[in-house]
Symmetry: C2
Subunit: 447 residues, 2 copies
């Protein structure tokens, strides 16, 4: 059965992926409408739909408090949806990347197509199995550490410690960021180990399977890393350090966030503040109270997102740094964009530009929509819109207050951000047609 | 003398242009420090510097009220600076465009360089003369109409009517947007003719000399227009219509702006609201009171700006639509980006991307800087930062309140936006070097 699904996805990826996600969302919505999933006894279709979209798109934005609104059964369904969403996105995005690579290697050669397809199908099955294994191992390790910590340090009874351990491990690896505490992870501020375990788990899911696997195999030999792994890994580290430093410096004196904390707690908060916008989504402080300069930093980081074919959203770290290398090359007057002694193809660069510009268009469109529908402060709107599109889940608190139209806007953004960017990028790469003649060239003035 | 200057600029454009602007700004600052230029008798170097930068960069942002702070002598110096800035930017940008075209046509041929340079120098002198003539004629026509209107409709005495006519004609064509009324052009809301004359004059300067000249010569034969003229002209019209409609719809009911106006006044206001963000900078309403959705629209339009080699700022209409056509081509899977049956070269597209991304970086950097230095509302900060970088001059009113560091940030943005984008674009085009070997290609995952 699993193989049949893999086969189908590999053959018509761009139509099936959004449909698959819509299917999971529909089932999730129906399940979350069951009275036993929530405490209030009312039927609230909007709450069920929004939560199902947010969980399946592993975003973590909420219109109700996960800890108090949902029963353990409801919470279990949410956890299941995030696991399906996370596993789905990692495997499908990885498969599409393989497909694109195969397509590009194929064009120009005369290899019999069906033969290659059979080969890549075999490869695809292996990859999906490996993703499932990596995911389970990573989550299990995190769950064990967190459970022990919750029991022995925080004095939580075993059953709840285990449940919380599994929950936070899963929610970290999938970057879903739903929390079983009403104040998210703010209560763990004095427990650096828990925050660091969550942050590392978020990173493991966020960096993306292709990089995760290459790091596992070649972590001793960075010289052999692919360009994609270099861009993603070093880029991720660089962005983390910048966000960490910005959070620490900007918020240091802010009495509403970390101003009254000890130095160790400030550093702990800054670690979460540096990792979570890309795109774990657990909040260590009340983001409605951060300084404007932290708001800008966080919005930019949520826009960039994490690694490709991982559980994070955004335009992706590699896309962002490809654009940076493009600018460098243009500034140096070089025709070729080179990264680590490899040339980056024109098609790849164009796709990076297209993904980034379409993402900007989504953010502007979404912000405009909410500006028309509500009178909420513009920075809060832009923050939550970027969080939805980047499937981050951090919030300045406006999401629950939005009218139906506003929540639908956020749902569309979550879906586009989760399923849109990478299927679009793959579709673009797969559709590249060759024109056999060129029109005469003309040079409009730029700038 | 003029020829010597032209020769020098043509030979080392990228170093000389910023220096020339800095020179004019320095002289302007010294002149504006003369006590006879202002009423208050104090020496305020920051006011003189900011005004000189704003005038020379034809932006129109102010830290004091132009109408009441400066004496007629001071106002005359401001007018002179805007004329020098406007003429300077039009001629230098046009010359650089010719230089770039020559450079591109040269590369690949074996024409003796000095010979071609002599030819293009002759062409350059003709062009500068034509720009001066067009500018004077356009300003004279506008000045006459406005003077008559001020005298006969508004009952202004002849001397002041003439002074105001010349002032507003000049400030419109150069897109400088300084006003001799403390409420800018808000007082002319009931006088559609004046608003339309100003708007048309703003358009004439803003669209840029290359398009202006081509329209003059070939206005009957749109089929013969160059790609640049098509992109700029149709793009300008399209953006105007969108901004006009958005302003009219969003502000229709806003009691703080046009809510209480008659329908004719609303339309008049929307004409100015549609034209001025690109980048005339006269304000027909108090921009601090517009709706959030109008704020977003206006910010986007200020970012895009007007035509290349004109008196407007921003990334330019042609750059924006080149990016749109790039996205279209990628979405269609076409290797060539084509506009009106002409192929757009890869170098041109890369420069467009670079200009747009660097502009975004300037806006994010400037907004971040002001967020750190002040506690002003973020949307107001982003608005005035975009206005400065786009040399627009619209303001949500925060500019005069900024601390010295904030005003210096805006000055840097005005300078970068005015002199930076087009010299950078030209420098990029001129520096393109050819690598005679290619490195092996590699494809990172995008999105
Ligand atoms: K998330
Ligand atoms: K202006």
């Amino acid at each position: 059965m699993a193989n049949t699904v893999v086969d189908k996805v590999m053959r018509r990826p761009v139509r099936l992926v959004p449909l698959a996600f819509l299917g999971v969302i529909a089932i999730g919505t129906l399940l979350l409408l069951i009275p036993a999933t929530h405490h209030d006894g009312q039927v609230r279709p909007m709450v069920a739909t929004f939560t199902a979209v947010s969980a399946t798109c592993i975003t973590g934005l909420t219109v109700v408090d996960t800890a108090t609104y949902w029963t353990p059964f409801g919470q279990f369904i949410i956890l299941l949806l995030t696991q399906m969403g996370g596993f789905g996105i990692m495997s499908i995005a990885t498969l599409l990347a393989i497909l694109v690579k195969g397509h590009i290697e194929l064009s120009g050669t005369l290899v019999v197509q069906t033969e290659t397809q059979t080969q890549s199908l075999g490869q695809a099955r292996r990859v999906v199995l490996r993703i499932a294994t990596s995911m389970l191992v990573a989550e299990a390790v995190a769950a064990v550490i967190l459970t022990l910590r919750f029991h022995f340090t925080h004095g939580t009874e075993w059953p709840q410690a285990i449940w919380h351990g599994i929950w936070y491990a899963g929610m970290s690896f999938t970057n879903a960021g739903f929390a079983l505490h009403s104040d998210s992870i703010m209560g763990f501020i004095a427990d650096p180990l828990t925050i660091i375990v969550m942050s590392v788990t978020v990173f493991a899911g966020s960096i993306g399977y292709p990089v995760f696997w290459e790091l596992l195999q070649k972590w001793r030999r960075p010289r052999n890393w692919s360009v994609h792994t270099r861009l993603s890994f070093y880029g991720f580290i660089l962005l983390f350090v910048l966000t960490f430093a910005a959070f620490l410096i900007f918020e240091w004196d802010n009495p509403d966030t970390i101003g009254s904390f000890s130095v160790l707690e400030k550093v702990t908060a800054a670690i979460a503040g540096g990792v979570m916008p890309r795109s774990g989504g657990f909040n260590i402080v009340d983001y409605a109270l951060i300084k404007d300069e932290t708001t800008i930093t966080t919005i930019v980081m949520m826009f960039i997102g994490g690694g490709s074919a991982g559980t994070s959203g955004g335009i992706k770290v590699s896309t962002f740094f490809l654009l940076a290398f493009l600018i460098l090359a243009v500034a140096r007057g070089e025709r070729d964009v080179t990264v680590a002694h490899r040339r980056i193809g024109d098609e790849t660069l164009r796709q990076a530009v297209t993904v980034a510009l379409l993402a900007v268009a989504c953010l502007v469109g979404g912000t405009m929509m909410l500006a028309i529908l509500t009178n909420l402060p513009l920075p809060h709107v832009l923050f939550d819109v970027t969080s939805a599109f980047g499937t981050v889940g951090l919030s300045m608190g406006i999401t629950p207050e939005l009218p139906a139209g506003g929540q639908i806007t956020l749902m569309v953004l979550m879906f586009l951000g989760r399923v849109g960017t990478f299927t679009a990028a793959s579709a673009l790469a797969l559709r590249t047609a060759t024109r056999h003649y060129h029109l005469p060239e003309e040079r409009p003035i730029v700038g």
